[in-house]
Structure formats: C-alpha cells, structure tokens
Symmetry: C3
Subunit: 136 residues, 3 copies
C-alpha cells in the first residue's frame, strides 16, 4: 500500500471539482502521491474552456454569488488549483470510455494537463494500492 | 485487509450505476473480490424493471442521446454489466432499512441477483477489510 | 493504519446525511473510530435549525412522504442519529474554508456538536490513517 490518494471525478459540478482539487492539492502538499481519474461529466471539465462551465450541485446558492464569495474568501480559482496540482506532481488520467461515449476527442481536451488515457484497469491498478480512495 | 472493493450504491442515477458496475466488474476481472451494497435510490434499481428507470445525474445530456451514444461506443447495457458482475462472482447486498423506508418487499426485488439482505453492520464488516471503499 | 472511518460530508441532502450518520454510528457501534468532516452544503446542516432543512437528492419521492415513511419504519431522526454519534464518541470537524465562503460564523453553528475547526490538512491527516474513507 502506497501513501497515495486516488479520486474518481465523475461529477462535473463546480463545487465538487473544488473538493476534488483541494483534496488532491492537500494530499500532495502533505507528501502523498495523488491521482485524479476524470470520467463522465467530470471529463467534460477537462475540455478546452470546460473548467468554467460547471454548475453547482445544490440550488441553495446561485453561481454568481458563489463566485463572488470565493473571491471574497480569497479561494484560488479552479484553474489555479489545477495548475498547482500539476506543479506539485499530481497525476491526471482521462477515461477513454467516456471519450467514446461523449464523443470527446483528444484535441478537444487540454492535453497538457493529462498524463495518461486509461480504462477501468488503469483505475483499479491505482486505487488498489492507495490509502485514500474517493468517488466524487 | 483483503484485496476487495466495497461500494455503497446510494444513487439511482443511470450514469452512476454505470460507474459502480464498471468498477465492480473491473475489480473482479483483476482478481479482486467485490461487494455492492445497494441502498436508498440505488436499491430501487434492483426492483423488477428498475434497471431501466434511472435518470442522469446531470442535465447536460438527455437520456435518449446518452443511450444512443452508449450503443455507438459499444458499451454494454446495465443488464449485461450486472449479469457479468454475478458471473464473475460479485456479491450484492440489499439494504433492509431502505426496504422498510421505501416499502420495497423481497418479491418486488430481483431476488436472483441478491446474495444477502443486510443492515449497517453488514456493510461495516465488508468495508472494514476492503482495500477500495467508495460511496456512489 | 487505524480502525477508523472518515467521511467527507459535502452534500446537504437529507438522504445523504442519513447515510453519513448511519455509517458513522454503525462504525462506532462496531468499535471503530469515526470522523465526519462537514464541508460545503453539508456544513449548512450544522447551522442552527439546519438539520431539518435538507432536500432529497433525487426527485422520486417528496419530503413529506419520505418523512412519514421514516416514521413508519421507526428510523431515528437525524437529530437522534447525530446525538447518538456524539455519545458514542464520534468526532465532527467543520471546514473553515467553507465557513469563509458561505459566510458562516461560529455562532451560526451548533458549536456543541463540533470538536474541531479544520482545513484540508486536518482532513488528510485523519483520512490517511483510516480504513474506510468516503465522500458523500
């Protein structure tokens, strides 16, 4: 077992992307390894321009208010969080099956962020040896 | 600790059922054990005819488009995935408390798929010794 | 690795709160330690009066029907479950970043339930040594 965090990012909601990236960045900062496996709606956030397009998972607050509160609280943008994630050595895997289902091509994706294109076997291989596994 | 994947299937959304079953089948194919614990809306998918009734967790695509893309991408149906899951030796537990809350009787369920009817203690017992734990 | 369950409670949906608390109470009853880390919409359920305000994560049943079925099935209220959780020695952490984003102050929260106010480092520290990790 390796000191690693592996997260399936299934959701495309902005608040859940925040949770996934904050956990990934936090794990890396504390000396753990980290893998994010983007699938389904999560993968759409890795398309060009996709990081800004997520809605919120609950209707209790609207997007404008959420964004202005993030600014007020000095929380980094998703773009900054994902750049930090890469700089800290975090790994990103794009789900090939989702690409086929959603009709997403490699050139639609921000390929500079993606370390590997993989299937379920790739995920199990990562997760099986991880101390922290989450589905978001 | 056993080389096992234990997943709580709380959601009844079709895309999340896909994730749960693909992970379960993948784990089994790679020699792991697997347990799916169906609860709340997830359990409703195990009622007769229930596997076809799930909606999508995000409104970015409608159900007809999703289904036709699954076909185009040659992705197996949920029915095929759950049959494979059983053939590969996967275990399915139905949550008894959910049955009481939702008014679901054993005869409403596809009993041939279910290995055990259990409560939270059954889940903790499985999860506590599993390498991969997820809540979907 | 410690015999502990650590759950991120991101969702504010009532049915997901039920799952989180039933798992936490179950883990404690079986001799495990348990930590619930409340963040985003989940944290709002810890504000005064917040535990009654969650909606359901799926529209297949309305709130009144859900509540009356819970009563019929003799399922404890969320209030009872969280009181049991504390009495059994469960730990609750409130996410400080969420408090800033949502504009939630300590005096808005039910402080008697909260053991610690923490950030992502606090979570990683707990999760890294836990046998069961979930994101709800």
């Amino acid at each position: 077992m390796i000191d690693k965090t592996t997260i399936i990012v299934h959701s495309g909601n902005m608040d859940k992307l925040y949770s996934a990236l904050i956990i990934g960045d936090g794990a890396l900062s504390m000396g753990m390894e980290s893998t994010l496996f983007f699938t389904f709606w999560g993968l759409e956030r890795l398309t060009k321009g996709g990081l800004d397009k997520g809605s919120l998972s609950m209707g209790e607050m609207d997007m404008n208010m959420f964004n202005s509160r993030l600014k007020q609280a000095n929380v980094a943008t998703l773009e900054k969080l994902i750049q930090d994630y890469k700089e800290l050595g975090g790994k990103i895997i794009a789900c090939e099956m989702t690409m086929e289902i959603m009709g997403v091509k490699k050139e639609d994706l921000r390929e500079e962020l993606i370390d590997e294109y993989g299937a379920i076997g790739t995920y199990i291989h990562e997760a099986r040896e991880s101390k922290i596994n989450l589905f978001i």
